[in-house]
């Protein structure tokens, strides 16, 4: 799961996969704006065939938070 998330994030941000870890901060390390995060989440929804409610997304701070949520789905 984490690998797939890193792959999507790497494609969106053009950051090297090696530099993205579970601890990477979406805002500080990957420099994603709140609107970017929404776009990335849409990519995850399409990839994994699930729906992530908007009110859950605001709690995502790191890549690990995203992975943890997706693993429970």
């Amino acid at each position: 799961m984490l690998e797939k998330i890193i792959e999507i994030l790497s494609e969106y941000t053009e950051a090297d996969k090696e530099h993205i870890t579970a601890e990477s901060s979406l805002a500080a390390d990957l420099e994603l704006s709140s609107l970017d995060i929404m776009s990335v989440v849409l990519a995850f929804e399409e990839e994994f065939g699930i729906e992530i409610p908007d009110q859950v997304i605001k709690d995502f701070t790191t890549v690990g938070d995203l992975a943890e949520y997706l693993e429970t789905k």
Binding site: A27, A28, S33, L35, M38, Q55, K58, D59, T61
Partner: protein
């Protein structure tokens, strides 16, 4: 049309929001006012006739429930039901209190208390965040039932809501804005404030087609300009329900105009160039922009043809972006113009209901926020602050005389912004007088509120929060005695990263601290021992945590 002064647009003026609904249902009863996705059930449409009829039904139902002269909060995602609640509440003489759904539950409860809210209309998703308050809570999910009952009352002859006449000086809504003290202030807007802002904005800017509404309705810009102004012009407003689907919605609806904060423009810019780079056509795109700009200087416009692929991402019909809420870099305005989309930068604050100035369709100046709306006066004080006077200026801050007196003097509203006005009336903003951090998404973040949270931890001796490179940064002077006592002196980085996560917990993303900087000396202070917020040499910051 050349870029020079021209006459104001002459849309019929409205006297109230009720007047606006009646005008539209009379002139264009079958015109589509709102459209929105119903998931798998396709797209729902509401005509001007539907809107008026349903506002009357809901308003009559509200009266029957005893909702007269009440303070009624509305909380939830942008939706048609949200708008019905707002319209029905204020047209019936109640005071609407739009609430930011993303705030922590405790803060929402605090705002409801502060605004003396007695009734709350919450969307199904956000009903739980207000369930613990003393307010009477209704779910927007039961809207069909409210409307059915309201219609029955009207059919039985109840005309109390229909016949209610609004005094335009009456308080219409209380909209919260972040204050410098870290506490939100309730901006009191009268019916007159709002309609005068709609009338004035419509005289400066002409709209020519539909829009996709993406800004939150609890913001004055998203509601009054992004919805009411378009409604008054009589074009369809597609209600976007999630920022995840903004571009999908734009491609489906093909809007002619969008009302955005800079965050959207900046993100669209990045996405355009990322896509071009991925497809190996970024250099070609830059060349085409130069060629197109050159031809355009001779009046030859081939932009729709050569930038068709870029424009398709926005639906293919987008001509204007009305941008406000935060400063926008001139480079974005010029780039989007090259593509064939004119960004009309504007200026306002919630206290000005909200639009005080905007660039016009055919009279604009890059780097400025445009000219003042025609029914107000704007001047610059001796110390460089922009002052606004006129019917759009708020009544004051709700139950906060001290804060009101600080900004309202002899009818002039002191905006806290520094600026200049040129001979043609174009206003240029040069900085903020206030401490507030204005992020590129238009959100105001109070540094004091974040600093207060950090200071609750004994390991933080001093802290200063500010914006740096589009992120909220917190510079901390740790209490090394405490850290040594706890045996944590070798783990400063981990410790404060943990504190950063704790402070960020439950905050909307835009309010989260993105960077921690540790310093090994005290902050410079003034004679009253207060940290010199603007005296910090940011170039001397310590390493990022």
């Amino acid at each position: 049309m050349q870029n020079r002064p021209y006459d104001l647009y002459a849309l019929p003026k409205i006297g109230s929001l009720k007047d606006m609904l009646i005008q539209k249902k009379t002139d264009r009863p079958c015109g589509v006012a709102f459209a929105f996705s119903k998931g798998r059930d396709g797209i729902a449409e509401k005509t001007y006739q539907d809107v008026y009829e349903e506002v009357c039904a809901l308003g009559t139902w509200m009266y029957r429930q005893g909702m007269k002269e009440k303070h009624i909060a509305v909380i939830g995602e942008n939706s048609y039901e949200w708008l019905l609640c707002f319209f029905a509440a204020v047209i019936g003489g109640n005071v609407a209190v739009p609430i930011d759904k993303e705030l922590p539950t405790e803060e929402i409860a605090e705002l409801l208390h502060k605004a003396d809210v007695q009734v709350v209309f919450a969307s199904e998703t956000y009903g739980n965040v207000v369930s613990g308050t003393d307010c009477m809570v209704y779910s927007m999910g039961d809207m069909e039932q409210f409307l059915a009952e309201g219609r029955q009352y009207i059919e039985a002859g109840d005309r109390t809501f229909l016949d209610y006449s609004i005094d335009s000086r009456k308080l219409c809504c209380i909209m919260f804005t972040s204050g410098t003290s870290g506490k939100s202030k309730g901006v009191m807007l009268s019916h007159r404030n709002i309609v005068e802002d709609i009338n004035g904005s419509c005289q400066l800017v002409v709209l020519g087609g539909s829009t996709v509404s993406v800004l939150p309705f609890h913001h004055a810009f998203g509601l009054i300009v992004g919805v009411f102004m378009v409604y008054h012009y009589g074009f369809t407003i597609f209600l976007n329900k999630s920022l995840k689907t903004v571009q999908k919605d734009m491609q489906a609806v093909s809007p002619q105009v969008m009302f955005l904060v800079p965050l959207f423009v900046e993100t669209f810019h990045r996405q355009i160039w990322a896509a071009a780079k991925k497809e190996g056509r970024d250099r070609m795109l830059k060349r085409l922009m130069k060629i197109s700009d050159f031809l355009l200087s001779f009046g030859i416009d081939i932009r729709k043809k050569i930038f068709a692929s870029v424009l398709r991402a926005f639906g293919g019909n987008l001509e204007y972006i009305i941008c406000g809420g935060a400063p926008l870099g001139v480079q974005y305005i010029r780039e989007f113009r090259s593509f064939g989309i004119e960004i009309l930068n504007g200026y306002g604050t919630t206290e000005c209901a909200p639009c005080a100035a905007v660039n016009r369709n055919h009279f604009y100046r890059d780097g400025t926020v445009g000219v003042a709306v025609p029914n107000i006066s704007v001047k610059v004080s001796n110390d460089g602050e922009v002052l606004v006077k006129g019917p759009i200026v708020m009544q004051g801050y709700y139950q906060d005389r001290e804060a009101t007196d600080q900004v309202l003097k002899d009818g002039w509203y002191a905006t806290g912004d520094l600026g200049t006005i040129d001979a043609d009336g174009f206003i240029t903003l040069t900085g903020r007088k206030k401490n507030l951090i204005i992020l590129s998404n238009g959100e105001n973040v109070s540094p004091e509120a974040l600093e207060a949270d950090f200071l609750q931890n004994p390991a933080v001796k001093e802290v200063l929060v500010y914006e740096q490179d589009r992120l909220i940064a917190a510079q901390i002077y740790p209490d090394m005695e405490y850290m040594k006592e706890k045996g944590l002196q070798e783990q400063l980085q981990e410790y404060f990263e943990g504190l950063q996560r704790k402070v960020n917990y439950n905050r909307p993303i835009y309010r989260q601290v993105g960077k921690i900087i540790l310093r090994d000396t005290e902050f410079p202070k003034n004679t009253s021992k207060k940290i010199l917020r603007y005296g910090i040499n940011y170039a001397e910051r310590e390493d990022k945590c």
